[in-house]
């Protein structure tokens, strides 16, 4: 009876379908079209220009700097976030009292508005009266410019051991040397500040997922290992880590995808792209190109490149992790 085609289904699907097709599917095509056309302010698709926007992207040093900054952000925030979250989750899993309270506290930053907390952190990082510089002052350390410090992390660390990196690397003799220099110097202190804040913000989210994963590991496996004479660290290596790896991989890919899309923190804490453009990430650069200078074609090309990267990452996630979605507490 219910195996016959029932066309009234279309009415049920129509509301969602119409919205999704119009605002989520069609734009993907439209975005590509925009990137291969040139036009006026009010009519962005006048003249077909093929892939010249993409070619220009390749030669755009600001774009590569943005990609580099995004990569720095990702590499800086994802592993760190995972390690700390794992650590916290392991601690929380130790069958202690007050699990609920701790979980609440750690999860709190996750649900707060990122715009508001970005401001709070911007204030913490303030050069004159921010908390961090006040602490530095108390222990007689020179204040840092934090969000206005363009020096790279490596540069700063090396300077502590009195090694000074060359301030600019002249390799090609073109402006791309800037990219090389930035790679050598590392992410700017400003970008590191944003990384720190981002790790803080999303920690609880990963903790909760890890905790669920940890709690899914049967206890008898630990007991068996203990009987075999394994200490806690060896138990972790032999039991916890391998069984947790699907969860870890899942978080890794998810965090990476999210990290590539970072925008709000950068926009709120360094509205102009940071010192020496060192906090301008891809989405930020895209936003500027699209909505500050209204270069829709060019920005669409950038959006498409970003889309491709994320699409590939998501495919990897789907393929290897599958759809481990089940509802149930």
């Amino acid at each position: 009876m219910h195996d016959k085609n029932d066309h009234s289904a279309y009415f049920y699907v129509l509301p969602a379908g119409a919205i999704i097709l119009l605002f989520h599917v069609f734009p993907v095509i439209y975005s590509f079209l925009l990137s291969v056309f040139k036009g006026t302010l009010k009519h962005p698709m006048r003249e077909f220009i093929g892939l010249s926007n993409y070619a220009e992207l390749v030669g755009d040093v600001s774009f590569w700097k943005a990609m580099l900054n995004t990569l720095f952000f990702s590499v800086g925030s994802v592993p760190l976030g995972i390690l700390i979250a794992l650590g916290i989750a392991v601690l929380l899993n130790q069958k202690i009292q007050g699990l609920g309270i701790y979980r609440t506290i750690y999860y709190l930053p996750v649900i707060t508005s990122i715009a508001a907390v970005s401001l709070v952190w911007k204030w913490l990082y303030d050069k004159k009266a921010g908390f961090f510089n006040q602490v530095f002052d108390m222990v007689d350390v020179a204040p840092s410019a934090w969000l206005q410090e363009s020096r790279g992390l490596f540069e700063v660390v090396f300077s502590w051991v009195h090694i000074s990196l060359p301030t600019s690397i002249v390799f090609f003799g073109t402006e791309f040397d800037q990219v090389l220099t930035r790679i050598a110097h590392g992410p700017s202190v400003a970008l590191c500040c944003i990384i720190a804040m981002s790790v803080w913000k999303s920690l609880g989210y990963n903790v909760v997922i890890f905790l669920a994963g940890l709690q899914g590991i049967p206890n008898h496996l630990y007991e068996a290992a203990e009987i075999d004479g394994a200490n806690r660290w060896q138990q972790f290596k032999a039991v916890t880590w391998p069984l947790l790896s699907p969860t870890t991989f899942f978080i890794f890919i998810m965090s990476t995808i999210t990290s590539f899309q970072v925008f709000v923190q950068v926009f709120m804490m360094t509205p102009f792209g940071g010192p020496d453009g060192s906090t301008s990430v891809v989405v930020f650069y895209l936003y500027e190109k699209a909505f500050k200078t209204f270069e829709f074609g060019y920005a669409s090309a950038m959006a498409y490149v970003l889309f491709t990267i994320i699409f590939i990452l998501t495919l990897i996630q789907k393929k290897y992790v599958g759809e481990k979605v089940h509802y149930g507490g």
Binding site: F11, L41, K42, T167, S168, D276, G277
Partner: protein, 459 residues
Amino acid sequence: MRMRLTILIALTLVLLALWGCGPSQRADEFNKKGQLKIVFWHAMGGPLGDVLNGLIQDYNESQDKYYIHPEFMGRYDILEQKIIASVMAGRTPDVAQMYEGVTMLLTRDEGEESLQALNPWVEKWDGWNQIFPAFQENSTYDNGIIYSLPFNKSFPVLMSNREILKLIGKKNPPGNWSELASYAKEIHERVGYDKELRKPVLKSQAQNPEDIMGYAFAVDPWLFEVMLLQNGGQMANEEQSEVYFNSEFARESLNWFVKGVQEGWAYRTEGYNHQNEFGAQKVAFIITSSVSQKFMQKKLNFDFAVTPVPSGREREVSIMSGTNVAIFEGIGEARTGGAWDFISWLNSPEITSKWARNTFYVPTRRDALQRPEMQDYYKNVEGASASIDQLEIGDMEPRSSAWYRCRIILRSYMEKVISHIEKGDDENPDSLIKRYLDMATKRMNRELSKYHIKRKSSS
């Protein structure tokens, strides 16, 4: 089945109706006194905003046809972004303050101009001929189309701490760049700041004086460009498709700042800090827009002088800063009339004089200078003549719609150069300057080429 058909038809109608509502300008609105509402977007805040609001109130009360509804947008870049966004959304203000680059952007696509050509109005107006030629040129675009009237114009002025000048035995502020450099150097060497007396003193006569700097600056292309022109160079070619910021004139100009930082008497500050430092008497000279005095007035409790920007080697020239006001397309005849009435009122002799006298912007027309209150202001207020004297030698920056981005590029490369010098790099400053200015010029040219428009010329 009938139910489903009905739903389908209803949905289709709804969709069609929704699609039908395209972007459109707002309707005419009137206040209780029967005045037509004219929406004016601007970025004048603080004391300047107060003066502007006062003028707007005067206008609204002086006649009964129109009233101006001002909306303060915060900063210029936000204002510009909002203007362009409003054009895209099809719902614009009636009048707005804007730089030439924005005017260009809004009028470069033939057939899709978002601003109204003001020529029909200007032709019937007796004020145009009184507007200073530099401003006339600034508001006239290709084929003689006038898209704006001048609004808040300023020039760079040199502010000097007279007390410090006295200490080194100089009566007058420096008149040219080399004088400025040598005074600044001498001051840095010989003058210090006594914390207890809270004033500058000769180092030789003080115990533990703090250092005083000669010249403080925020990295900004404006002065660099002025020097470039003064030295005989050019910023761009006539079609504005190419810039010359890597010429020898450009390198020479940037080198002035570089040398200052190297020799230790000049230093870079962020934002408006150079003004704060000047007010705190930590630095002897700064060059700022004439209008900065309005913001600094209350904080300057020492004897200071305001003179025109130092002169250069070859030409007597300066570069104006500030914006114009333009009227948007599609707002209807009535509001266009009101918008024109307002902006021409702003450019009437009495009002432009009042505006100038209260803000340190310059008056926009010659006959305003003849007015007695203007003469009085010119003679007796420190800082009045410094900018007004530059009216006849004023030039302007390139007006390409890509210029805003070019400026950002130029500034970022200037900053890189200064950063290197500050860090005490080994590299020869000349090669440093050449390398970065070359890169900056290349990138600027790329930006310009994207926006280089070829309008059909009418013969």
